[in-house]
Symmetry: D2
Subunit: 382 residues, 4 copies
């Protein structure tokens, strides 16, 4: 008999849906000690909260997250609301002794993130940040291959996250679905929204990043603000590219933009090692590209591996070889891993502390874009 893991979700947006779907599905596909129970959904607008609850099967609603956090029948607070709300909720939840899941990026900046990590670690509660792309089976296989030493010394890391949805000048900023364009709510533009994913993966796969050198750009300088109705200056970064160096001696380039016509969500990375290279992209997330120099000379080539076999990470829990899974499954894997970790008394990852490392890189990137200099990435010390 499975134990209940009673969840209180804050936020009913896009991430509220991905998380809810994961909570509902995970037990059907993974044999776990705990079964998520959709206890409560919290949002300021009661009608919208209720509609969401009805749709997903949440047993109750709240309109004030403070009440949610205090409820005795909740084990875990899942923060799916905009970036500028993460810190306050997380710190309160920690104080209330709840486990905490938090959408990425962790915080508005490293300073705020550090406060959150302190609070969480002081409270000693299980915690994790939804950097879901670590749980793409192909990405998890990449991690395996690196850990096995298949690549040898790593020379190059390259990552991009390209979108094209904000090219139109008529797109407003702010409000539902558009808060990502509002610096006061999002903290930053593509850096916190998209590059944060690239950085999280990179730190996981390639170790510590030491210095960065960035440029940013805001192509559309002014947009109408949905909430104020006025044309206002756009304060987020529309695009950001940076050079970086890692502790292991490898060189890296990172780039993100929402102005790359033809790319909807092209998160892609490539890693070149002495003996082998790997490449992946989100538009075909069920494939991993792999080149091995140790193959017989005349038969060397990039292999396109269809990640759907039972010996690929997570895949034995799904269908049969050849049948692909999609984006939403990464969240299922992440909550499965979270539950397995707490069952074993291990620390789920990426933890708030891991996510703080990413935050520090983002800070250094944004700083470098201003100072026009190489900036060191501070080490997480608390």
């Amino acid at each position: 008999m499975k134990k209940p893991l009673r969840i209180g979700l804050v936020g009913y947006g896009f991430m509220g849906r991905t998380h809810s779907n994961a909570f509902r599905k995970v037990g059907n596909f993974f044999d776990l000690e705990y079964e998520p129970v959709l206890q409560a959904i919290c949002a300021r607008d009661a009608a919208k909260a209720q509609a969401f609850a009805d749709n997903w099967g949440y047993q109750s609603i709240e309109t004030d997250w403070r009440k949610l956090v205090e409820r005795k029948d909740i084990d875990l607070i899942d923060i799916g609301s905009p970036n500028n709300t993460h810190a306050e909720i997380a710190i309160a939840a920690a104080k209330a002794g709840k486990m905490i899941l938090c959408e990425k990026p962790l915080s508005m900046d490293g300073k705020e993130g550090a406060k959150m990590v302190k609070a969480i670690e002081k409270a000693g509660v299980a915690n994790m940040v939804w950097y879901n792309y670590r749980r793409v089976p192909a990405v998890a296989l990449a991690k395996q291959l690196i850990d096995e030493g298949k690549l040898g010394r790593i020379f190059h890391y390259r990552a991009k996250f390209l979108q094209d949805w904000t090219i139109s000048k008529d797109l407003p900023q702010g409000g539902t679905g558009l808060w990502r364009l509002d610096a006061k709510v999002a903290g930053s533009g593509v850096t916190g929204d998209l590059l944060a994913h690239c950085i999280d993966t990179a730190l996981w796969l390639n170790g510590r990043m030491t210095t960065v050198n960035a440029m940013t750009e805001t192509f559309v300088k002014e947009r109408k603000h949905t909430l104020t109705g006025k044309v206002q200056k756009v304060e987020i970064d529309d695009a950001c590219a940076f050079l970086a160096k890692f502790d292991n001696g490898s060189l890296a380039t990172f780039e993100s933009t929402r102005y790359a016509r033809g790319h909807k969500a092209l998160y892609t990375f490539e890693i070149n090692g002495e003996n082998a290279s790997i490449a992946w992209d989100l538009h075909d997330l069920h494939r991993l590209q792999y080149f091995d120099y140790r193959d017989e000379g005349k038969l060397r080539g990039w292999r396109s591996i269809h990640i759907s076999d039972s010996d690929h990470p997570y895949m034995k829990n799904w269908w049969v070889p050849g049948l692909q899974i999609g984006y939403e499954h990464t969240f299922v894997h992440q909550i499965a891993d979270f539950i397995q970790a707490i069952s074993k008394g291990e620390k789920p990852c990426p933890s708030f502390r891991d996510a703080l490392d990413t935050q520090y890189v983002c800070d250094a990137v944004l700083k470098s874009a201003k100072t026009q200099k190489w900036e060191k990435v501070p080490k997480t010390k608390l």
Copy 2:
């Protein structure tokens, strides 16, 4: 408030899982009049049935499908058991006035299928066969394009379904997970299992097939039978290829095998029209290849369309552009379409009658392989 659609599922194998997942998810993503209720799962082995029920949330179990069919608290019988059980269950369910969903292929052969269709149509119950690949968004878009006349006169249709999982001579036949190799249970080999999918799609996209000319082969002649423990003759077709002609004057080639090293489940088709061509394959099911001769001359090329925009079939119900869905979603779409059809008083498709057309083609294919001649595909007349 949604109305309940109380489901009784027969079979807990691979297809039992895909259907159950679809029943559980569909209401979260599609706004429908009916909500599937997992009322009962039926399997001969009570322990296995119970384990399945526990995993998926079925409220009760049965060990005799006859009892299931008679239960008053069941609205719909979903047949997910091996091919040789379809007819008996479906006919009984029809008599009991239940709606019926049936896994493909419809039946062991056309003769049996015709009996099923008669029974179902006499009973006037809603019915549908799980040819799920019609509900891949890219395939549904292909249908749209053809219906819009984008391709013009069609000259060629080409389909393949290639696998490689039975190459080893040590693989036994029969029993759980291997009944597809046992002709008595499966009816045929790749023809009914894989080509049936290709044929269903082809009839849907390209209209009536008139004549066929086939060859089949059984590469491994004998295999140990799991149930008898003896080495027995293999009676299924390991591979089948056929030429075909359609009513619209187009020529076609079809091929399926389980001996194509390197392909796990490569269902692929290509259609060449006067003005445009389309191609698709299951290994990258979220893409459609499209070539339009009306593009500016120097810019003509095959477009790789990432089927993840809100104006692509079914996709507005899922995530955001660029984020792919997978195999399991085709079943969600199919049950959503079924519910929408019955809500509107329309006939769900593919119906048993539609599936009987596919059965007749399969029969003609297998007959041609024996007679070594062109064989006409009989028209479905009842």
Copy 3:
């Protein structure tokens, strides 16, 4: 000091250009005992012959191939004129003791081809047919891999040659550049023009083909004839597809058409063996796709091999790794191989006899399309 190989070319069309280019280039890239000398070009129209001679550096012209064949200063007759002229010229050249190169297909049919082979073999002259695709480095590597046993037992062979240049009903038949649509000149349509290539490669890679079962179609029934000015019945096959069986037990499908919108010259084949599979296509002729089941399980995938390394066939003679060659190089390789063979006293391949095997398959294919039955491929016996 290289010995001269004095060439007399018949025909100045597309193939006249590919051959002349090969003759001029081969000595720059391959170290050979003989150097082709462009001695004479022969065509009925003296002005056109002279223009061609001026462009390519031929030292003289002829307007009657009979005179060319008799010239003492010619060592080799290269037949690049339309199909219906091959036999007469080849037989005369054989009688005159010349070495002979002949464009494909060898002849109008097997009967005519057999006469040619008899004449050539009686004369004992060096001979070769320009099935140039054997000399694509990727295809030559495929041959190496098969000969090394990399694939193991072969189950499936699949080939297509798809074009789209005759879809318009306004395209006339006959005359310069369009004789391929005139059955009296071409012998057949896609069968002799395109499938002959597929068949030649298949016999080379996969051994003897035993039986075939074909269908053909002529989509546009009448076209204006350029020479007569009248609308006449089209007698060639616009499209042809056939099933086939090989001596080694493998099954095959072949297809060719000039009505596959979006494909300009898509010659593609795939071979599935017990242990490995290979695939190739002419639109990216510098790549070979390779899948090896013996790779580590989780890392199995199709390798896209960029055939540009010095250990790939022919490639050490060209540039450096990563830099691709193109279509015309296949002719250079073929004449290089021809010269190397005659230098060593070996038989160049494919010989007229090899090409006759292909002709017999074409005959059986066209016969089967008429009889609507499986037809045996006769063995070449002379």
Copy 4:
């Protein structure tokens, strides 16, 4: 009757071959006023020069380039020798009134390049630098599309040139075939050898580059020197990545390395415009990727354009649609364009002055890598 263009080539290495092949072929495929005549090849080693002359058909040899430059029977000096020899030869050739072709990069640095440009322009001789990738048909089509305004405002430019041939520590530096690793001969590493190509294309397609910010790395610090026999410090850059800004407001990233396992010569670029994007890579140089936002919404996708039609740049001079050309053809196109320009009294491009712009960017890149700051690219003023 064509006029002779009498060529004196300096250098018999890799580039000596590509140029000689182009000179020999161009007249067969392009109808030009001048026909290149292979008058003389110059190299210090008389035996090697003679062997090269015999192979390619040069009518004479020289062992001192000064003599070559002074010969009255030479119209054009083609400089194919290592980078550190370009300036002296070019300046002398200019003084002697010869037309001049020069391999890229133009010079060891911008200062030296400026002297060359002054000398050439003072002499008023026709001049061109072999940045051959401008003449890839797909790249020339990209230029056409940009000039037609198809892309609209350009936001992003991205280029890479990745190789993997110097990863082994055992590879020596210096001497024949390896002078590219010797800073004294090459001037720089990947910056001058590979990025120079990327920069030349970028300036041509995207206009003036204003500022750059670079990092470089030398992964293998010491290598045996072939000429001295000693292990010496490696002074070239093994890898270089830089950020850049263009006059048109677009952001760019550039990267090159010889340590990217799996890439032999992957020169690739992508340009994202408001309305359309294009991408290309050298490993499949006969294709252009194109995305147009103005396509019907549900049918938007990246088109893979097979650049082999008669309305694609240069392609009507070669074979028929579907048949690809390769690397060497870019040199044929470039000499064809050169001859057409001088026939019309136009300036061939890229001129020495154009190539000097690239040199200045390279200088700024290398300077930035040292200063660790953004550096301005000086404007070419003479």
